[in-house]
Symmetry: C2
Subunit: 493 residues, 2 copies
Amino acid sequence: MLHAERGPPARSVQEIRVTSTPTPVRSRDLAELAARLEAELGPDAVTSAVVAQETGGEERFAGDRSGSAAAGTRFLVVLPQDTAGVQAALRLAHATGTPVVPRGAGSGLSGGAIPVDGGIVLGLERLTAVREIDVLDEVAVVEAGVITADLSAALAPHGFFYAPDPASARLSTIGGNIATNAGGLHCAKYGVTRESVLALEAVLADGTLLRTGHRSLKGVTGLDLTQLLIGSEGTLAVVTAATVRIRPLPVARRTVLARFASVEAAAGGVNAISRSPVRPAATELMDAGTLTDIDASTGSLLAEGASAILLVELDGYGVDEQVCDLTTALVGAGGTVREIPDEDEAEHLWELRRSGRGFSPEVLRLGEDIAVPKSRLAEIFTALTEIGERHGVQTSALAHAGDGNLHPCLALPREEAGEGIEDGVLPAPILAAADELVRAALDLGGTISGEHGIGTAKHHWLDLELSPASRALQQRLKSALDPDHLLNPGKAL
Amino acid sequence: MLHAERGPPARSVQEIRVTSTPTPVRSRDLAELAARLEAELGPDAVTSAVVAQETGGEERFAGDRSGSAAAGTRFLVVLPQDTAGVQAALRLAHATGTPVVPRGAGSGLSGGAIPVDGGIVLGLERLTAVREIDVLDEVAVVEAGVITADLSAALAPHGFFYAPDPASARLSTIGGNIATNAGGLHCAKYGVTRESVLALEAVLADGTLLRTGHRSLKGVTGLDLTQLLIGSEGTLAVVTAATVRIRPLPVARRTVLARFASVEAAAGGVNAISRSPVRPAATELMDAGTLTDIDASTGSLLAEGASAILLVELDGYGVDEQVCDLTTALVGAGGTVREIPDEDEAEHLWELRRSGRGFSPEVLRLGEDIAVPKSRLAEIFTALTEIGERHGVQTSALAHAGDGNLHPCLALPREEAGEGIEDGVLPAPILAAADELVRAALDLGGTISGEHGIGTAKHHWLDLELSPASRALQQRLKSALDPDHLLNPGKAL
């Protein structure tokens, strides 16, 4: 029997479960729900009856970086101050059968935070405390709304850092990173978000507080609920805080840039690294289209003399020896290798990699996120080019090559897309190319999402990767945690 | 609806589910069950109606290294040749309502493989293929029955290794390691078993084949069933094969030995390492009792001039610089530090650590497995001594100090234990001391099991660590995967 471990004692979850029959809330009931939430959480925590696309200042809650709710979608925005507030909101949602969409910073790329009609958007953005930093235990305890980069900034004076670093680290939150099991540039060496989370504080669909995991690096008591919740995109519970592993800052860092005559040769460079003893902190592959894009928007000269670049970061002890072994491997693969001793130049290169691509409003684009076993990078780049040519779509890609994670860009100038293209709807050739690309990744033993998650954007591809047995099992797990299917309905699973 | 993805086509799981009502098998029905299993799997794969404690050669299936089934327990031993055989056995068990205890090498220390009366012991020991080694993808695909050390032996010619290394690596299997999320000496740097498993092939309770995970290092499609199954001690599914991550052998290794005047000082040395930039591959702490035990049984002289020792392994690039930073940290904490340049001497020290403790049959012992946040090591060692004195029990401990995992030994000479001590039953003072020790670990923010698992041995302590909400949720997850609760009943959860 689930029961509340914490929260207002006035009435227990058990009472709610017995006395209330969930009743779907229609749009016109949202005002009443808002009043009840305001009574519990205070008026400041509730924004009444937001309507997507019509609300000006509140529109930021209408979607994420992949798109927005359909025009006319009505929802409540609830922004609790603390975990008890999250419990109260979920208890009321549970009692009234109201769907709940948990939300971090809204920086997701898969639609996981897009509101559902008649539902609550439960924003965690006010839970921003770094509750604890303990360098001797190598852990920090942080609330879900902490911006990921802010955590590392808080750790830096202690000589520590938080390893998972999605490119969105300056925008996205720890809670959002946990919901999507976010990746980033340094995962091949330091692991994805999953490998840095030891324990969670989370609220179940009925408002019950759940604590999972342990503070020691080891611990095997019972099923690992921490791991089950990570990556579940808000469909199983709402994470309110996490105990994360922190690491000492590396004693040294070094950047190496290698130019190759083709993207296939650069992929060969990745294989050469695999055969070598050196394991970079980051191995980023940029193809010709990406280099041209960056040069066009920033004035850089990356594409000069190179059809593809590997930008590599080495860190830790013995970096000179690491540079030596890396150079041997990459030269052997046909690369022209240059160590970047100047830290400012190195940082500039990484900044170009992170955010150098200019996105003109005159071009319609789809950013993809697939992964393949890393020895198959050359093949997926070849497939990308062929698919683009077949559909008349411009293609380019960069890759977190050390872990096989590719971010292709499928683009079409707006003038070529023809008439009748509405905002937020991509032209058919881009969608057709994306479909073929996802299938190509699967054919190579890959996955339909490396790190962005499924959300709504990739939901229609789930059956390509997961067997009926797997999907049925996932639905049973969903029902075990959220029997009324109120948490982030229609997403991820 | 779950359905079979693979397996004998003669009859589908669906047919079995419709036509059979599970009926508990009593001991006298085992002969009939054996006949049906022999008909499906061949006579070689089934050992009929084994009775614990009365069967001579088959007794190895009666228990694990923590104990055996009660005398008179009747069970069938089933040893399938392959995954299809595992499916067939589970289908029949499901159809007849027969409990199933999955078994690797029987090297577990928590009773997870102890047979249940009237049940099947499903041994995976014949699934021993290393199906694939791919150094470019940095993965190996191995069957559940592969001995863990054999995998690293197979990888060595390629210059690679499999990182998880429980002390039992020469006995235990990959499947058993996955079932318990096994740890070992190198986890603080390389992670526990969980961090090295990318994908699983597993059979559900009704015989359905399930494939989870991905071959790329990244992948976030759906709930992470791989992670849910790891550490579930055979209660959710039977793992038949795994895709595991492999790593290049380190370019160098170095052993450092530091002597301390007290175990508290050695724990201070662990804190000094945490404050330093160096992160050892292994950090083993041995207290005075452990050193004395090793010296007595091997003739070594570890205890000379030391009340506690930290035995540290550094690896990778820049080991000289690592040794320098480590030495600075440990000398600052009061240690007497010696680098061991001779590889044979270093290997001898590690062998003493792994298996040097002699266990006289004249002494009754309980080996424990707890973990605490690593800054609390001094406190748990102090608690151990106090508890031992209070109960008149000899205590000693060694620790995987880098991850806070402690293996205390609670001992009483047989002659002091008094009359009436049966084989396999520990005297009351040892049991009382163990109970206090587990509670002390929890009071320090630790866990009741660092790496050995819960099995039957720690089942009675679960409520001390897990909340009612967590336990209820775990039962619901169990029911979602194994509705009839046939897989390893009474264990782990």
